[in-house]
């Protein structure tokens, strides 16, 4: 771990304040059906088309645990290096709301399915460990829609009963940047595991953000405020910044901070009080008598453990060792599972005589540029890993130059064309026949006798002129290395 720490402080005239942040991330379990019913979970379906009698809490309807969701939660726990609890209990969290059909949410209160764990963040000042307090399974509520009608509120129960994992961190984060890295790391791990798609636009990943401040160097925690339900990293960062400054201002004015729940107003960029500690709901948690305690065997956990794919931290380590990549390059490749998949496929397709560094440069350079300009994810890349690998090999074995390769790449984008064919059809093959090149260079030297003499007399800058002339004469196809060699000999 790094000896250095975040240098994020809130500065006032005489004082510096450290910001302490803990997150409760709500991650939607990637599952075809809900936590306690068989209804579908597709995003964007017509309102109330994915609702069973159980989700709508009809009389006499009973929840039945979806084993797949349990597996997903355990896998996530393993990915977070966390303790898996063989016995966990579903509790009822009781409160009334129009989009909560049962009048309670089934959650896990005292005995969560996953206990303490940790994740490692790569910060510019080194690696940072963030503790995980727990992960528990719970149901999502439905959605109240207030703006469709002036008189009525509409309720969409499609989300009602969808499985969520609440991942609670320890108060280990110290800056908006660390929050950014933490969320991205969680998302990366869950996407590798296939347990959450991490799609924040669709609400698959939201967080409650706990913020407190304390004088730099202090060991005591300050009073915290919880900012509810923030659904983008940018908003989380803005909310933290606002909230930390608000708290520091209060302290500077000699006032106290009230422990309360606040909302982040994304339009005004400020947090607002929602309810104080005194007004907090009494949720009357108690074990759900409709569900037996959830018990999983060591064998069940071990089978899932054996099923865990290589996760980002391990993959990064391997790429550095196996391919001699820099930590920076490895990070770029592993942070998103689809990038990692693409890279590894390219590596596989390149065969024996491969140039990994070249492939990495081309992925992070040309390919990322194209994806960016077209607004595509790497999983939607217009150039397949197979053709991409062929292109890299063409450069590596000298068939085409890097410069020609860029032209070829442009042509590949439209319809994922085979670069080999493009090179042949367009006659872009590099001229690497020394005899032909010698003849070409002889002619250029002849045509430019005076310049050749000047070069020999010491005007070395003119070397570039001859390279340029040779490339021009070959239509850009001459092997630049050979040109260099021949020119040096002849001049």
């Amino acid at each position: 771990m790094s000896k250095k720490d975040s240098e994020y402080f809130i500065n006032r005239k005489d004082n510096q304040y450290e910001v302490v942040i803990g997150l409760e991330v709500h991650a939607q379990v990637l599952s075809e059906s809900k936590l306690f019913s068989t209804s579908a979970t597709k995003f964007g379906a017509e309102p109330n088309t994915q609702v069973s009698l159980v989700d709508a809490a009809f009389p006499g309807m009973l929840p039945v645990i979806n084993e797949f969701c349990v597996k997903q939660a355990i896998k996530t726990g393993i990915g977070l290096n966390a303790k898996i609890n063989k016995r966990s209990v579903f509790d009822r969290k009781n409160y009334f709301y129009a989009d909560l059909p049962q009048g309670y949410q089934i959650s896990q209160f005292k005995d969560p399915i996953v206990g303490e764990g940790k994740v490692i963040l790569d910060m510019p000042y080194g690696q940072k460990e963030v503790g995980i307090e727990r992960l528990h399974l719970e149901q999502d509520a439905g959605k109240s829609i207030h703006d469709l009608d002036p008189q009525n509120t509409f309720v969409d129960l499609n989300r009602s009963g969808v499985a969520l994992m609440e991942i609670v961190s320890k108060p280990d984060l110290r800056s908006p940047d660390e929050v950014n890295a933490y969320i991205k790391k969680l998302r990366s791990i869950m996407r590798y595991l296939g347990t959450c798609d991490g799609n924040m636009q669709e609400g698959s990943l939201r967080a409650d953000v706990n913020v407190s401040v304390r004088p730099k160097g202090s060991k005591e925690f300050g009073t915290r405020c919880e900012i509810k339900n923030v659904n983008s990293i940018k908003f989380m960062q803005m909310a933290i910044e606002y909230e930390a400054n608000r708290q520091v201002d209060l302290i500077e004015e000699g006032k106290t901070i009230d422990q309360e729940t606040r909302l982040f107003d994304t339009k005004k960029n400020e947090t607002r009080s929602m309810r104080s500690k005194e007004d907090a709901h009494d949720y009357r948690y108690f074990p759900d008598p409709d569900l037996l305690p959830l018990e999983v065997s060591e064998k069940f956990i071990e089978e899932l453990r054996n099923d865990i794919p290589e996760l980002p931290d391990d993959k990064k380590k391997r790429l550095i060792e196996e391919f001699k990549l820099s930590p920076y390059e490895a990070n770029i490749l592993v942070s998103d599972i689809d990038t990692a998949k693409y890279f590894e496929e390219v590596v596989a397709k390149m065969g024996k005589n491969k140039d990994i560094k070249l492939a990495v440069n081309w992925i992070t350079g040309e390919l990322f540029a194209v994806l960016n300009s077209k607004g595509l994810e790497i999983s939607q890349s217009p150039v397949s890993a197979k053709n991409f690998a062929i292109l890299i090999n063409l450069i590596k074995n000298g068939t085409i130059s890097g410069k020609i390769a860029k032209t070829v790449f442009e042509l590949m984008i439209d319809g994922d064309k085979d670069p080999q064919k493009i090179v042949e059809e367009k006659g872009l093959k590099q001229q690497s026949d020394p005899k032909a090149l010698e003849a070409l260079i002889d002619k250029i030297i002849n045509d430019n006798r005076e310049k050749a003499i000047e070069y020999k007399q010491g005007k070395e800058k003119l070397f570039g002129f001859f390279v340029g002339q040779a490339m021009k004469a070959s239509g850009g196809k001459a092997n630049p290395q050979l040109i260099n060699e021949i020119l040096k000999k002849k001049l």
């Binding site: 009809f58 006499g60 009973l62 039945v64 009822r92 009781n94 009334f96 009357r284 409709d290």
Partner: protein, 485 residues
């Protein structure tokens, strides 16, 4: 045959199988008698027209291999029945028509039975006299203005009054056994997990069990055999090997050891109850079984424990009746106002009382002192039974501390009402099976019941003991048809 409604289920099944009676004959007879019995107020909803149609359909193509071939049956209005209004005795569900069927009733219809209608009960099964029903109190066929017990009061009244050959009730703290005892019939509360709770309007999930109510033990065994099944739709349903309870029924209980728990001799218990119990002990011995004095030391804590656990679960189970999705909705200024008006107009006094108690005991700051402690005591009560069952095969107790009381006699005294459940509640808390059989009459001629409590999943054993005792007791219910004009 004019005495069709006097026949037992077993006789009716036999007569239909032998083609001495058609389903139409039987169904007509029970409809006729039900129609003449409006004064009992046993039904909330009747389905007589469809019942008769279904009986005719059955007769056109009778499947006589079924266990309940063409047998008409009314059921407690706590079971959701597809396309038939299901109210749970409450105003809040007065307009509720399920699109689905409870597993227990599904099992019954799958064996050929025909729905007659839905029977009255205490609101959300909360009551011991059937006086909390939104649809009015039920009269006992035993005597005018006598309560039939509760919460399965309509069910007890309908079986004793011969409006249905048998029926099913639900039992959370005694709701099958107490009314069975009050009306001179047999009622079984099965082991928790034996009958699916799917589609039964929930009162207290960890205690609720459906069970059969019948004129005699054999009928009870047959109906239990039909309704008990493993159901993956209920996570608390248990997959164990179920007996052919009626086929395996035997009156040979020689050598069985029956425990007599001293703690059930409660203060102020009428002498006639004590006498009945002694008579029961004698019957047991007459059957060749042995009685052994045992102790269930935590019995006195059962009732207070029950009145914490059951309301706690109920307060949460009943939160779904909020006027938003189905059922009764009162107009309100805003969401909170709508909730408050809907629930205060939609729920009756007893239900509101239990929601209040349940909400209180689960509140932060009180949870440990009430709910958590109650759960611990519940475990102790279960341990008492486990200890006892190391020495005995079953336990014999009175079913209730008194015979039936008059309508209105206890409505203003909830605690004295709750005391009715004192002998039945421990069985629910321990999740055990218990059966009440009629065993005699009190000085007023009202029936009195004895309860046999079994080991978990040992329904066959208590049915056998009940069957053997039934023969010795030779109980005759005194039904005068006072309500029929």
């Amino acid at each position: 045959m004019s005495d069709i409604t006097k026949q037992s289920l077993t006789e009716l099944v036999e007569n239909i199988k032998n083609k001495k009676l058609s389903s139409t004959d039987v169904t007509k007879a029970f409809i006729d008698r039900s129609e003449k019995s409006e004064q009992l107020n046993a039904y909330i909803t009747n389905d007589f027209t469809s019942a008769l149609d279904n009986a005719k359909k059955f007769d056109q193509k009778p499947n006589l291999d079924l266990k309940l071939p063409g047998i008409p049956m009314a059921v407690k209005d706590l079971f959701c029945t597809k396309n038939i209004k299901t109210t749970a005795g409450s105003k809040i569900l007065n307009n509720f028509v399920p699109t689905y069927e409870s597993t227990v009733t599904e099992n019954i219809w799958n064996e050929g039975a025909i729905l007659l209608g839905k029977l009255n009960c205490d609101e959300f099964a909360m009551g011991s006299s059937n006086e909390t029903s939104f649809f009015g109190n039920v009269q006992s066929p035993i005597d005018k203005n006598l309560v039939p017990g509760g919460s399965s009061g309509g069910s007890a009244s309908a079986v004793a009054g011969q409006l249905t050959p048998v029926t099913i009730g639900t039992d959370t703290g005694g709701s099958i056994r107490q009314p069975a005892s009050f009306t001179g019939i047999v009622g079984l509360k099965p082991t928790y997990g034996s009958c699916s709770r799917y589609g039964i309007v929930a009162f207290a999930s960890s205690l609720d069990q459906a069970g059969p109510m019948a004129q005699n033990v054999k009928d009870c065994a047959l109906l239990h055999e039909v309704i008990s099944s493993y159901d993956p739709k209920d996570s608390t349903s248990i997959d164990f090997k179920r007996n052919h309870y009626s086929k395996e029924l035997t009156n040979n209980i020689k050598g069985k050891k029956i425990g007599i728990p001293k703690e059930y001799r409660v203060d102020g218990m009428p002498k006639e109850i004590e006498d009945l119990w002694q008579k029961g002990i004698q019957y047991i011995k007459d059957c060749g079984a042995e009685t052994i004095d045992i102790s269930l030391p935590n019995t006195s804590y059962a009732l207070p424990t029950y009145y914490i656990v059951a309301p706690a679960e109920a307060s949460s189970n009943l939160a779904r009746y909020d006027g938003v999705k189905y059922g009764f909705r009162a107009k309100g200024e805003n969401l909170i106002d709508m909730y408050e008006k809907t629930r205060s107009e939609g729920f009756g006094v007893e239900v509101q009382r239990r929601i209040m108690i349940g909400t209180y005991v689960l509140s932060s700051g009180y949870y440990d002192a009430y709910y958590l402690k109650a759960q611990k005591v519940r475990k102790l009560i279960k341990n008492d039974f486990d200890e006892a069952y190391k020495k005995v095969d079953a336990i014999l107790t009175p079913s209730t501390p008194s015979s039936a009381f008059k309508i209105g006699e206890k409505t203003n005294d909830p605690v004295s009402m709750y005391l009715n459940d004192i002998f039945t509640v421990p069985v629910n808390l321990a999740g055990l099976p218990g059966i009440s059989i009629p065993a005699g009459h009190d000085s007023k001629g009202y029936p009195l019941g004895l309860q046999i409590i079994g080991k978990a999943f040992d329904e066959q054993n208590i049915l056998n003991i009940a069957y053997a005792m039934e023969e010795k007791i030779n109980f005759k219910n005194k039904i005068t048809d006072w309500w029929i004009k």
